[in-house]
Each structure stands twice: as C-alpha cells, then as structure tokens.
C-alpha cells in the first residue's frame, strides 16, 4: 500500500509542466483564439516531448505508459488550458484503440502524423474533427458534429477520467490566478487578499481541489488495474473534480471583480474550459447516478460496492 507517485511519475509531471509553462502561456491562447487555432508547431512540440505517444506501446514508437501517467499529464494540460486536443487523441483515443486491439494508427499518432478523436453518444461531437463546426463557449475547443458516435462504456470512462484530471489542473490554475490577483489588487489601503471574506473563499477552493485530487488518482489507478468497480471510482472523480473546479471558477471571478469579467484578464480561458469539461463525458447528474447506483443499489446491482471503514480500497 503506497498512495504516492513514483520518482518517474513526478519527473514526468515536472518535465511536462516546465515545457508547457515555458512555451504555452496565455499569450499563445490569445493568438490561437484570434488566428482560429492553427499552429502546427505546437503539435510538433508536443510530439517531440513524447506526449502524443505517451500511452502508445513502445513497439509502436511510444512511451508505453499507463493511465495514471495519462491522468497526470491530462492535469497538466488543464493547468495551461492547452488548446491542442492532446487529451482527446493521446489520452482517450489511444488507450481505447489499444483496448480494442486496434493498433494500426498508433505509430502515426506517436509520430505526430495523425490525430484521432473518438466521439461517444454521451457527447456526440468531436473535439478536433472535420464535420460541421459547433461553437463551444470555450474558444479553444474545436468542436464538430459526427455521424456515428460510439457507445462503449470503457471509452466513456476514459473520457470521464481524463476530463476529471484536466479539471484538477484547471482548478489549480484558476486558484493561483485568483491568489496572485488578490495579492496585488489594493482597495481600502490593502491588498484585497488581506480581507477574510476573500481569504476564506479561496481557502474553500483549496480544500475542494486538494480533496478531489486523491479521488482522481485513485480512479486512474483503478482503471489502470482494470478493477471491476473502476467506473464507480471514475464517476466519483469526475463528480468531485467538477464540483471543485466549478467552485473555484466562481470564486476566482468574484475575487477578480470586474477585471474577471473582461477578455483582457486570462481567467476566462480556464473558466470556459471548466464549463465545457463539467458537462463533457457524462455530466454531474450522470456520474451522480452511477455512484448512487453503486452506493444505494443494494444486492445484485451491477457495481456491488462494499462500504465501510475496512473498504477504503476494496
């Protein structure tokens, strides 16, 4: 029993974080928003970092990592509100294709030559397709309609897990933006961050995010280990991460005052990602229902969840 990340996992995260923060600030998001989202250099960079092939087996030229590493990287994508559909291709489509034994496209994905996004009936559109465009409130999501969407539960769980992980990064980022703003904006002769009404709201966000994190990591490990109850843990993760990020989005804009209501301040990119991901791959009600089924479904239910102090990990 060891609920901690390995040295390798930690350095993977640090590497990705350093890479993103050096090259991928809000200026880039603004430019992409203006230019209509095309800068092939960024995808090239992600490929060179090995991120497109993160979960692709080494035989196909990837790094052969697992879903825990995938979730950690998804969180980093959320942290920078990455516009490129890396999560859709590399962290959702790839493990799904692998689960179906469909390895044809993997080498190309790892090499950065192909992007694959797969749609599920629960959100029948694609982030990065070539159908009719659909406009999302998130200007960095490039949604298009699809003809046939899949209806595979494993795909749904992958999408939900990776959305939950992104929401963790999105939440962290909004929190630090709000904290930085609270330190520099002065009113009544002090930084607004000195006021308890601001402090306590921000402290609530820390609590919500910090207690959602281990739920997400646990879900990632459960999927990685293919536990029969992994879907329940994924729903728990999506639910907890959505609530934490939503609380943080609302708090962060409040802390920014009218500045938070402008396009000029960066916060909106992350808020919009939060709104989009909150409903993607199963909304709050969907995931609540799945947990409900496991917790209250009683005998003979699909996910017979053992409940009690001795069942933390059963």
């Amino acid at each position: 029993m060891d609920f901690s990340f390995s040295e390798d996992q930690r350095s993977l995260v640090q590497g990705a974080r350093a890479y993103f923060s050096g090259r991928y600030g809000p200026e880039v998001l603004r430019r992409l928003d203006l230019d209509g989202l095309c800068n092939p250099e960024i995808w090239k960079g992600l490929t060179e970092m090995g991120l497109t092939g993160l979960l692709v087996p080494s035989e196909q030229g990837g790094m052969g990592m697992g879903l825990v590493e995938g979730a950690l990287i998804a969180a980093e994508c959320g942290r920078v509100a990455l516009a490129e559909p890396l999560v859709d291709t590399a962290l959702i489509a790839v493990p799904w294709l692998i689960s179906r034994g469909d390895t044809e496209a993997l080498a190309k994905i790892a090499a950065g030559e192909k992007r694959v996004a797969i749609s599920h009936v629960i959100n029948p559109w694609l982030n990065d397709g070539d159908g009719t465009p659909l406009e999302s409130i998130d200007p960095l999501r490039h949604l298009t309609t699809v003809e046939d969407a899949e209806n595979d539960p494993f795909l749904l769980d992958l999408g939900a897990l990776m959305s939950a992980a992104q929401l963790i990064g999105v939440g962290d980022a909004m929190l630090s933006q709000a904290v930085e703003y609270a330190k520099i904006r002065t009113q009544f002769g002090q930084p607004i961050g000195a006021f308890q009404a601001i402090k306590h709201q921000l402290a609530n966000c820390v609590g919500a995010i910090e207690f959602a994190k281990p739920v997400v990591w646990r879900a990632a490990q459960a999927m990685q280990d293919a536990l029969p109850l992994a879907p329940v843990h994924v729903s728990h993760a999506k639910f907890a991460a959505t609530d934490a990020a939503t609380l943080t989005a609302e708090t962060a804009i409040q802390v920014h005052g009218a500045m938070g209501y402008t396009y000029e301040v960066d916060l909106h990119f992350w808020m919009k990602r939060c709104w989009a991901l909150a409903g993607a791959w199963g909304d709050r009600a969907f995931h609540l229902r799945r947990i409900d089924h496991a917790v209250l479904g009683g005998e003979g239910n699909k996910w017979p969840l053992a409940i009690g102090p001795e069942h933390t990990f059963s």
Partner: protein, 387 residues
Amino acid sequence: MQLTYTPEQEAFRADVRAWMQANVPREPLATLECREGYDQHVAWERTLASDNWGMVTWPEAYGGRGLDLIQWLIFEEEYFRANAPNRANQNGIFLLGPTIMEYGTEEQKQRFLKPMAKGEVIWAQAWSEPGAGSDLAAISSRGVRDGDHYVLTGQKTWSSRAAFADWGFGIFRTEPNSKRHKGLSFILFDLNTPGITRRPIRQLHGEAGFAELFFDDVRVPVENRLAGEGEGWNVAMATAGFERGLMLRSPGRFQATAKQLIDLYRKHESHASPGAREAVIQAWGAAQAYAYNTYAVAAKIIAGGKIGAEASLNKIFWSELDRTMHRTAMQLLGAQAELKRFADGTLNHWLEGYIFSLSGPIYAGSNEIQRNIIAERLLGLPRLGAG
C-alpha cells in the same frame, strides 16, 4: 502508487479484526462525558493496552507495537468497523504523546509514554483560557520560577475530560511581562496537585464533558516542562499539528458514519427528499476522499516528509463532513430526530452525534482560524493591516 495491501498487511488486519470481535463491548458504553461512562472508557483503554493496542505506532518500549502508519490506518479502520468505544485517552495518545516523542527528554519519554499507552494515566489538554480562545497567544496564566519548581496561577477552561482525568498539559507564561507567543512554556502537571480546583462545566447536552481549572500557587517541578523555557508556543503548535493533521480523527470514523447514514437512508427512503439522497451519496464520497487523502499523507510521512499547514485542510474537511452527515441523519429522522431514545428504547445516537458534530468546527482551532491559516501559510495571502 500501489493501492493494494501486502499479505502481511492483510494478515495484520485479520489479527486486529479477530481481537476486536473478541473484545469490543457488546453494549455501547455510557457517554464518556459522565463519571460512569468515563470509568467504563478507561477500563476499555486498559483492555486495549493489555494486548498492546494502546498506540500501535509507538515503540514497544513505550507500550506500542512499533508499527508503521499504514498499519495504524488499518488498525483504525478495524477499530471503527467494530464500532469500538471513543478513546478516553485521545488527548494523550494522539496529541501529547507525539509531542513528547518529538520534544521530550529520554527521561520524560520513559516516564510519561508507557503509562499513557497503557491507559494508566488519562490526559487533559489545558490551553484555552477565558480570554484566550482562538487567540491562544493571549494566555495569561503564569508559571513563576521558584528554585526547581514553577508556581502556577491562573485559570484554564474548556478542558475536555478534565473533570475526571489524571494529568494535564498546559501552556503558561513563564517569563514575566512577556507578550504574545514569547515567554510561554509547555508544562505537564498532575491534576491532583494541591492548589488545583476543577470545576466541571455542563455542556449543552447536560454532561460535564469539559471543565474549568483554577490554579492557586500550584507547585510543579521544573522537570515537568517539555522543551526549553519560553519555547512553549512552538511545542504547542506542533501538538496542534498532530491534532488537526493525521491522528485525532482518522478516516475510519467518518467512513463508519457514512455507512450508518446509508443504512438509515434505506430505512427512511419513502419520505426522504432528493436532496437527502444526494447528501447521503456525497457522504460516502467525501469519507472516501478523506481516507485516500490520509493514505497519501501517510505515504508522504513514511517517505520522510512532513505535514504542515495542510493539517488545517484536514481539520475543516472532517469536521464539516461530520456535521453534514449528522444533519442529514437528523433530516431523515424527521419527527423522531428530537427523541433521545426511540419508542423501542434504543438510543438515538444521531442526536448525540449531531450535537457533538457542532463542536468539531470549534475545537482544535475553529474553522475560521484554519481558513486564515490556509490563506496565509498555504496561499501566502497577506495579513490584514491597519488600512
């Protein structure tokens, strides 16, 4: 990340489970807040200690079993699974014990830890004063040096179990005219020392769960001071960290409550609101989240890390979860919620639990103070200035 137990850990769990099955009293004990209940709970401490279950993480020399934090968590899970009684000695084993382990001299460890683990000496925490609650640095009780003794004067209050306990640990101003955090010392004293008057305080449910303590020239040997003279504040903050952090409220307690709440919901489903249903599901989720987080903290400590201001996050989380779960139970019980005993004579433990849950956000440093700590220490937000 490895979220499965080793065969040794599983075997340990089986041992604890078997022991609990054989030893946990069948009938619930009287409340710890009254004389009769206190005595029953102390007897239970001694039963635990008779097989060295008093504090499993402590070295064997101090009455423990030298186990690691994962085993401690397993022990706690089984403890709450078995619905075993509250720990009469929680302030000793969870707060003072770890503090002595860190700051005590070898002589103090020998002297205090074993009787603590064995349930022979029950400890009360004597920090708060009428003028020093949240603002603990406003302490005015004094300890005046007289040769190899301190002479204690002043008043402490809200001291849990002090009406019946054996020893107390307090913070006293030992440097005359010192201000705030300076000049305080952490002093251990026998509650039966001449000059100490205990006045039990009735809590809102009617029992004397805590007490006021009056000190009238109470002579305490200098060797009862923990750490250096004037270092009391730092020691106290370490104790507070143990209190809010890992030990005082282990996850099993809340997972057990969540499970009971789920059972209660099933009984009352026909007249429950949709909101109550969601609250019940969230209770399971939050109790699990708290457990995962605790395992993560344990892993961090095992790897040599420390838990700092994050302890405040834990304290808010468990205390507010506990209150929410009990409030939900009261809503589910509806008209029956007010009954101390149900018509069939069984105890309405939800009512007692709800009342107690209201104190969680107050004791161990109020949740407002915890939010200040998170904002200032974790987020680096500034203190309020003169404006």
